[in-house]
Amino acid sequence: MMNHHVHVTDVLVIGAGLAGERAAIEASLAGLDVTVLSLVPPRRSHSTAAQGGMQASLGNCAMGQGDNPDIHFEDTVKGSDWGCDQDVARLFCETAPIAVRQMAHWGVPWSRVVAGKRKLPSGKVIEEPAENEGLITARDFGGTAKWRTCYTADGTGHTLQYTMDSVVIKLGITVHDRMEAISLIHDGEKCLGAVARCLRTGNLVAYVAKSTVIATGGYGRLYTASTNAVINEGTGMSIALDTGLVPLGNMEAVQFHPTGLVPVWILITEGARGDGGYLLDKNLHRFMPDYEPKKKELASRDVVSRRMIQHIRKGYGVDSPYGPHLWLDIRHLGAKHINTNLREIANICRNFRGIDPVKELIPVRPTQHYSMGGVRTNIDGKVYGLKNLFALGEAACWDLHGFNRLGGNSLAETIVSGMIVGRKVAEHTQGVTLEYSGKLIQDNLAQQEERINNLIRGKNGKENPYKLRNEMGQVLMDYVGIFRNEQGLKTAVAKLQELHARAQKIGLQTDGRGPSPELSQALRVPGMIRLALCIAYGALQRKESRGSHAREDYPKRDDVNWLKRTLAYWPEGAELPKLDYEPVKITELPPGDRGYGESSASSTQDQPAGGGNNG
């Protein structure tokens, strides 16, 4: 066997997005030796792509006056369709304002309140209070009762990630980029780190740690059409699932964003609608007020996405070679506003589609966007099933978002959970002494080496990993999308099982040498298909509609039977996940009406004004 490198550290953080870096900072400040792994340089993590903003109830701007963590809590729980853990949501909402302010202290140039009157695109005139001049301001985002989404012009994720990484660099935290964790090392009881493959050389490295933290982001790229970065393939979730001991929570809860740009599926941020953009159909009719008279384009994402598909199905979509779509119209916001506040959107339209949103309509369609599900943890970020293992960020199911995440709550989650879970990791690690057998580490390395050699030699077959990935993506698109039903989901599960069997027979066309991209894909694909099966099978079993999970054959939320969280395990050698369920924690707000959406009383034309969730 080759002589592999072994790297010993106190805390191993897998993932250098906002969640991973924030947790790493907390552990490092506690005096621990921290090592962070990432597929890419930290500043290229997917967090950088978030443009819209981060929710925190500062209540500084005119339309945010009177906001507080209670209202934020209520929005979050309603948004989740009562699928979240309310103790987590409470802790989160109380901490979010501190997180935003700390990021300001570290250098984020948050947009600020400018006192004085200003006219909103709706025609309404508001007056920003003089006494709040220079405090952090906020914009409107879907599903919130107050303007609560803090932002830096059009680059919130970018400035947050750059600032976070500047602190990581300042603290001298060890970061190994282009280093992919491909399996967790454990002894059946506790996690001892991970085996990683270097994407510069192809060499294997064993990272041995007192505590291991999974912060690897979402799995968007399981779907063919996703707003996510191409590296979002869910590998962190899949290495956790592959232990056979760790469950993934609510994998069937998949968020679709209403406005992916056709046909490249780049996200047009919610800011476009928050700032007053309209959705139009083929007759240029603004149809959202017909369905959602109160929140219109700004109902929560799951609702807007479904209304759009519903409207397309009624025949109001615009035909195109890429299937029917709808229009996003921001022309009325004016060139100045579009070219400054929404500059990123304007650039995307110009560079990737050759259209000018100042003068032209933008073709959009709902697109996979966010994974609510993930590695299931408790409120401290401790992973179920293995000791010394933590998870946070989009890779985790903490569970703040339940069946639908509110826009702006995810950036906030990465940082808030980074603070909270990071501290718990630090406390926990201080009590751990590192005991491990060299043989266990060598065995784990040998096992991965064998897996790689088999792929290179084509020992089990010659299946093409790219083909398998593309077929999987299409199955999810066709049968596990926005609307789901029994027959479609059964078909999906059968097809995915077939793909999973073929994935055992992958063999490379190249020699797999060094940082071979083909080998990287071949190592990921079987795990990706298992994640896809967790999504499809979980969706098949959940016989109700809740948040983003919309069953045509079970259109109502069913609190009697389904007010619970799915836990998906993958026992060794299994062909399907083993599902288990646990109750959700309800500490304050009993299940009720969301105030928007198909099943809500407020979603009909004749509903009198003045419900609790207004403007």
Binding site: S45, H105, W106, G107, V113, G134, S166, Y466, P515, S516
Partner: protein
């Protein structure tokens, strides 16, 4: 324009293979509507040559991963439409940065080094007080900081810069722009003199010839000329006072 037959000449070299030597390889591809270099390279990798190395992350001109020389010009491959190019397209890795393989270069290590060298973080003695309201800032100031902070560290300005190609330690436009970002930030307590230690030399502001290839090459359209001039003025002033 669509339906053209495109010819890609791509630089190939895998440094982990002792038998490999740098060479060019040619691929043919049918152009499709709205094709970008991102789409084209993935098609080549998936259908013709799975060993081809290149980097994309966001594929939306946000993350800065995909800088390469496209027909001689440093550009982001993900937002370069093939329809804007002639049918023969030559792709080379960015110079200056360490080659990982084929079109993939190590910009991450280079930029981290620059951040360390210029101490690109807020320098302050203030402790964060979690109970206190945030410090106020003028929205205009916040916006000015953001304007400089928009750099995505793609390396296009560095690759096209004469000085950076000759002098390995030169900070380049991106490095100097990063310094400017902290200079305009009132939260950072460094004085012009502190900065002079770092950038008042040929590796910093005085190594620049002012020919502005950098600004032409910046995909974020950062006002690099203005930023370089701003830093130079500050440093000339600090130099005089020494």
């Amino acid at each position: 324009m669509a339906n053209r037959q495109l010819t890609f000449n791509i630089f190939r070299y895998n440094p982990t293979n002792p038998k490999d030597k740098p060479h060019m390889q040619t691929y043919q591809l049918q152009e499709t509507e709205g094709m970008t270099i991102f789409v084209a390279l993935n098609m080549i990798r998936e259908e013709q040559d799975p060993s081809l190395m290149f980097d994309f992350v966001c594929r939306a001109a946000i993350c800065g991963s995909c800088g390469m020389l496209i027909n001689g010009k440093p550009r982001l491959a993900c937002r370069t439409l093939t329809k804007d190019l002639p049918p023969e397209i030559t792709l080379l890795p960015l110079p200056v940065f360490k080659l990982i393989g084929d079109l993939s270069v190590d910009t991450g290590t280079w930029f981290r080094h620059i951040s360390l060298k210029t101490e690109a973080w807020i320098h302050t003695d203030k402790e964060f007080d979690p109970r206190a309201q945030e410090e106020r800032m003028d929205n205009k100031t916040a916006y000015d900081i953001y304007e400089a902070e928009r750099c995505i560290e793609c390396g296009c300005c560095i690759a096209g810069c004469l000085t950076a190609n000759l002098r390995p330690e030169f900070l380049g436009a991106a490095g100097l722009n990063r310094v400017a970002r902290f200079m305009v930030d009132p939260r950072d307590k460094r004085s012009a003199k502190d900065y002079f230690e770092v950038i008042g030399s040929d590796e910093g502001t005085f190594g620049c010839y002012g020919l502005m290839a950098c600004e032409d090459n910046c995909p974020m359209e950062l006002p690099l000329q203005q930023q370089l001039a701003f830093v130079r003025r500050k440093m000339a002033w600090a130099g005089l006072k020494r």
